[in-house]
């Protein structure tokens, strides 16, 4: 799923990722005391964040796992029902629809957003006049109120009055897409808006990552006569791998969890054309108060994300090695 394909994994700076054990100083020196000391120091770094994280986030998330095994309706006492919720999910057609739609959204949104935001970052990482302005513009969709985004895009997509269809009408006499009010076009419409909204956000992350690419490498390659394309492929992308991994994981998770954008754009409609897992969970939990059932769906979503993340993690490790 990552777009990183690398011919020369090791740059002159050594491997960008975690180095193999043998190069770490404390493994060359024997002695358990040192290991213990290192572990302790490591923990002191992690602890301030971990304490807050464990109490505020981890504990409620673990509770959720338990709730998914009960018939909780939020209030009152819940009865332990074992895997009943999961069995029910397996035959729930709405859940299947939501699952398929979520995969549809993710499959298109992930590669599209990575390509667009990386291109933007590469374009705006140069010292061109007005770069600050254009970077800010690219980030604007992410900070603009989501209500305004939904309203404007819905208007642009309006089948009768929308500028998009008026524009398309110049080229064809055939039937024009109904976009957000058509069961086949609603999802593409939402994907377009999703990519448009997120591109500035991930551009920002790529921009930060691009600053780790040493300029002298590019200079040396240029002297050797490497084309811009070769330099991108052989220098920029390999150096960008930690960022690429981070962005890919974040986009993947965000795509599988997509919620507010679809809620304001189409509210899952028309029919169930854009119903995604997060909205399914919300509907079951807060509209129908089947909290145990909603939790089970959330756990399924969690495992899908973890599975994809672990695959990316292993792929990344293999590329690093």
């Amino acid at each position: 799923m990552t777009t990183t394909v690398v011919d020369h994994p090791a740059g002159p700076l050594g491997r960008p990722g975690a180095a193999p054990r043998s190069t770490q100083p404390w493994h060359r020196r024997p002695g358990d005391r040192l290991k213990v000391r290192n572990a302790l120091i490591g923990w002191t770094f992690i602890l301030p964040n971990f304490l807050g994280f464990a109490v505020i986030t981890l504990v409620p998330v673990l509770t959720l796992f338990y709730i998914s095994l009960t018939n909780s309706n939020i209030f009152g006492t819940a009865t332990f029902t074992g895997l009943e919720n999961y069995v029910k999910l397996a035959s729930d057609k709405s859940f299947h629809t939501a699952l398929l739609n979520t995969f549809y959204y993710a499959a298109a949104h992930i590669p599209l957003t990575i390509v667009v935001s990386l291109s933007l970052a590469l374009l705006l990482n140069r010292k061109i006049r007005g770069a600050a302005f254009f970077r800010t513009v690219a980030f604007f969709p992410y900070i603009t109120s989501i209500v305004a985004i939904a309203v404007v895009w819905n208007m642009l997509f309006s089948p009768e009055f929308g500028p998009i269809n008026q524009f398309l009408g110049l080229f064809t006499d055939g039937e024009l897409p109904g976009w957000t009010v058509d069961k086949d076009w609603a999802m593409p419409a939402v994907i377009i808006v999703g990519t448009w909204r997120d591109m500035g956000y991930y551009m920002l992350l790529f921009l930060a990552g691009l600053q780790t690419v040493p300029a002298e490498l590019h200079e040396a390659a240029r002297v050797d006569g490497a084309s811009a394309w070769q330099r991108l492929w052989n220098i920029t992308l390999p150096c960008l791998r930690p960022t690429m991994f981070f962005v890919t994981v974040m986009i993947t998770i965000a795509s599988f969890k997509v919620f507010d954008l679809i809620l304001v754009m189409t509210d899952g409609g028309p029919g169930q054309a854009t119903l995604v897992l997060s909205q399914f969970i919300y509907n079951k939990g807060f509209v129908q108060f089947q909290f145990g059932y909603a939790s089970a769906a959330a756990v399924v979503l969690f495992f899908i994300c973890i599975l994809v993340t672990v695959v990316q993690f292993l792929y990344n490790k293999r590329k690093e090695a």
């Binding site: 209030f75 009152g76 058509d182 409609g269 108060f289």
Partner: protein, 437 residues
């Protein structure tokens, strides 16, 4: 390693459960108050700056009972009210009295043990109180209606006169309404105007609320939704014929009914009675144009319920008030008395004075409402306002919320033209059988 994780999970989960258990009990520990002394009861309301009804009821009650103060606790408006209140109820931090805003959730609040049995309060109320009867669950009542809006037909008298179409006379069936809408649109078009005969908002209730209320033997729980078919055929015909903006335009351009009717883009509007006060206000402020308007009974499915000598059937969910079961025992009596007041004639009078339709519509209420500046005073408007059989859109039942979610999806599918009417309804029936059981 797996076992280690599982142990960690187990421990942490146990800790949370212990923590949540503690927090749940906190509300019950408050010291018992002297029943005779001054009592303060807290009440949940939403958006207090823009919605005066809660403060009005609290003030009116305090004036009549100086010993009791009703203190408001503010919640966000819209569906967020339910989300935030649900969180508070789950954590045991909700106020003594709260509004059950959406009838759909009443049964869950009750089943979750968050509502006190107030059958004694309900028994004292006027049986004519709108929606009261439907609140009983297994013979007991847990919340009482204090306001109830009913759906009526708003029409623009100026536009009707301009188009030369006869105004509603109270005897309309949906067929008459369709004919008028088509005739009005044709006349506007001939005059070079883009206005439409009517405006039906994109909500599920605009089609399904009437269908459920007016069709013989229709019931949400039955799993048979063929009663929706004629209503959808009609709605589709109206938009296909250009007598009303299409669903696609309504949703993608986020049209608002206030702008459509208030700026004379449409000559008719089926809408709840809450819009009376809004339209009056918007005409006064200049946000809506100045024009003559009136309200008529909502068109009927059968002519047997139409006409001013019959009682027209319409729909509308009551807004109800209940008592938190975690309330301090010393305050229960005061809280019950407040509910009886709010849902009774005194509360009704106080609400009518600010233009809100209470659940109990008596002569005082009607007089008060129609004395307000800008409200139409013709006989048909008064008839439409006072005389109706209003059935709930979301009848109290365990499956209502789940069924309405499915029917809501059916609504968007049919109205957007994604499925033919009959197929959409057949699919809904199948899904209700499969998912709700």
């Amino acid at each position: 390693m797996n076992r280690k994780i599982m142990t960690a999970v187990g421990t942490a989960a146990a800790v949370t459960l212990a923590l949540t258990a503690c927090s749940g009990g906190a509300a019950g520990d408050a010291a018992t108050e002297e029943p005779a002394g001054p009592v303060t009861i807290s009440m949940a309301g939403w958006d207090l700056a823009a919605v005066p009804e809660f403060q009005t009821l609290a003030d009116a009650y305090h004036a009549a009972n100086p010993d009791v103060t009703v203190e408001l606790k503010e919640y966000p408006a819209g569906n967020d009210y339910d989300t935030a209140l649900t969180a508070d109820l789950a954590a045991g931090t909700a106020p003594d009295v709260f509004i059950v805003k959406n009838l759909k959730n009443y049964i869950t609040f009750q089943a979750g043990g968050t509502l006190l049995d107030i059958s004694d309060v309900a028994a004292e109320l006027d049986p004519a109180t709108g929606g009261l009867e439907a609140m009983a669950i297994d013979g007991a009542t847990y919340a009482v209606p204090y306001r109830q809006d009913s759906w009526v037909l708003y029409y623009n008298k100026d536009l009707f006169a301009q188009a030369g179409v006869a105004e509603p006379d109270g005897s309309w069936t949906w067929e008459d309404y369709d004919k008028a809408a088509v005739a009005l649109s044709a006349a506007f078009k001939a005059a070079g105007s883009t206005a439409t005969g009517t405006y039906q908002h994109g909500w599920q209730s605009v089609v399904q609320g009437f269908a459920l209320a007016q069709s013989d033997g229709a019931s949400l729980d039955s799993g048979d939704y063929s009663y929706l078919e004629p209503f959808y055929e009609q709605a589709i015909a109206l938009q296909d014929g250009g007598a009303q903006p299409t669903y696609a335009t309504v949703t993608t351009n986020k049209l608002t009914y206030q702008a459509q009717f208030g700026t004379q883009q449409s000559a008719m509007l089926p809408m709840g009675s809450w819009y009376i006060a809004t339209l009056v206000k918007q005409q006064a402020s200049g946000e809506a144009n100045a024009f003559e308007w009136g309200i008529a009974p909502i068109p009927q499915l059968e002519s047997s319920t139409a006409g001013v000598d019959n009682t027209p059937v319409t729909f509308g969910d009551p807004t109800t008030m209940g008592i938190n079961s975690a309330i301090d025992e010393a305050k229960v009596a005061a809280a019950k008395d407040f509910l009886a007041f709010a849902a009774g004639p005194e509360g009704a009078a106080a609400l009518a004075a600010i233009g809100i339709t209470p659940a109990l519509i008596d002569d005082t209420v009607t007089e008060t409402i129609f004395r307000l500046e800008g409200v139409p005073t013709d006989d048909l408007s008064k008839f439409a306002y006072t005389t109706h059989e209003t059935l709930p859109e979301n009848p109290v039942g365990e499956k209502t919320a789940a069924i309405q979610t499915i029917l809501g999806e059916t609504h968007t599918a049919i109205m957007s033209g994604s499925v033919p009417v009959a197929d959409g309804i057949a699919e809904a029936e199948e899904r209700v059988a499969n998912e709700v059981g």
